[in-house]
Symmetry: C2
Subunit: 94 residues, 2 copies
DNA sequence: AGGCCCGAGATCCAAACGGCATTGGACCGC
DNA sequence: GCGGTCCAATGCCGTTTGGATCTCGGGCCT
C-alpha cells in the first residue's frame, strides 16, 4: 500500500469515475485503474462496484474512505509541522 | 513522501543507527540512508544529527516522529478494518 | 444495429529502488 | 602518529515499478 494508491482511491471515490479521477490527478486513466486494483488485491476486498456508468463505493470502500482521508490529512499535517518547526527561533540551524 | 520513507524514519529514530535500522527492516544500509536523505530534502529539514556513533533526532525530527507513528498506525488500522469488514455477515460478497 | 462511455488489459519506456562495493570521516588502542 | 574499527554517504548496475499510449470488451441509448 502506498500513499499514491490512497490518494487515487479517495479521488475515485469522490468522482465516481476512474477517468475523471485520473484527469483531476493529472495522470492517465489506466494508471489509476491499476493502482485501485492493486490496492483491492492487497486488502483482499473489493472497494468499488464497477458499473457501466462508473464506480460506486462498496461496503469495504466506505470503511476505508474515512481512514484514507485521515491518513492523507495526517501526512500533510506532518509535513507542514516539520516545515513550520524549521522556521522557529529555537531551531537555529536545520 | 512515501510510507516506506516514514517506516524507515521511525526505525532509524528508534535504533539510532542506520545500519541497525536497515537490519531490522531487512534491507541494506544504503537504501535506508538514501531514503532518509530524500525525506529530509523533501521536508526541507534535517531530521537527524549525524554523529560518528550514529544518528540522533534533531528538533524537526522529534516533531515528525509522533506524527509518523500515527500515520503508520492509521495505515495498519485501515487495512485491518477493511479486512475485518469483509468477514462480516452484512458483506455477502466482496 | 451502430455509436458511445466507461473500465480493463497489453505493451513500451522512463524513473525509482535496492544491493554491492567503496569512500570519507571520526574515534580507539597501540 | 598510525593502523584498525565503526559509522553514514556515494557510485554503479540490475531489477522493479509506474505511467503513457493504444486497444479491447461490455452495457446503454437512440
Amino acid at each position: 500500500m502506498s500513499l499514491a494508491q490512497i490518494r487515487y482511491f479517495v479521488t475515485v471515490a469522490e468522482e465516481g469515475h476512474v477517468g475523471r479521477a485520473a484527469a483531476r490527478l493529472r495522470v492517465a486513466q489506466p494508471a489509476v485503474s491499476r493502482q485501485i486494483r492493486s490496492l483491492e488485491d492487497e486488502l483482499g476486498a473489493r472497494l468499488f462496484e464497477r458499473t457501466p456508468r462508473g464506480m460506486r463505493l462498496a461496503a469495504p470502500g466506505r470503511v476505508f474512505l474515512d481512514r484514507a482521508r485521515r491518513i492523507l490529512a495526517d501526512v500533510d499535517d506532518a509535513a507542514e509541522a516539520v516545515r513550520a518547526s524549521v522556521n522557529t527561533p529555537s531551531c537555529a540551524r536545520c
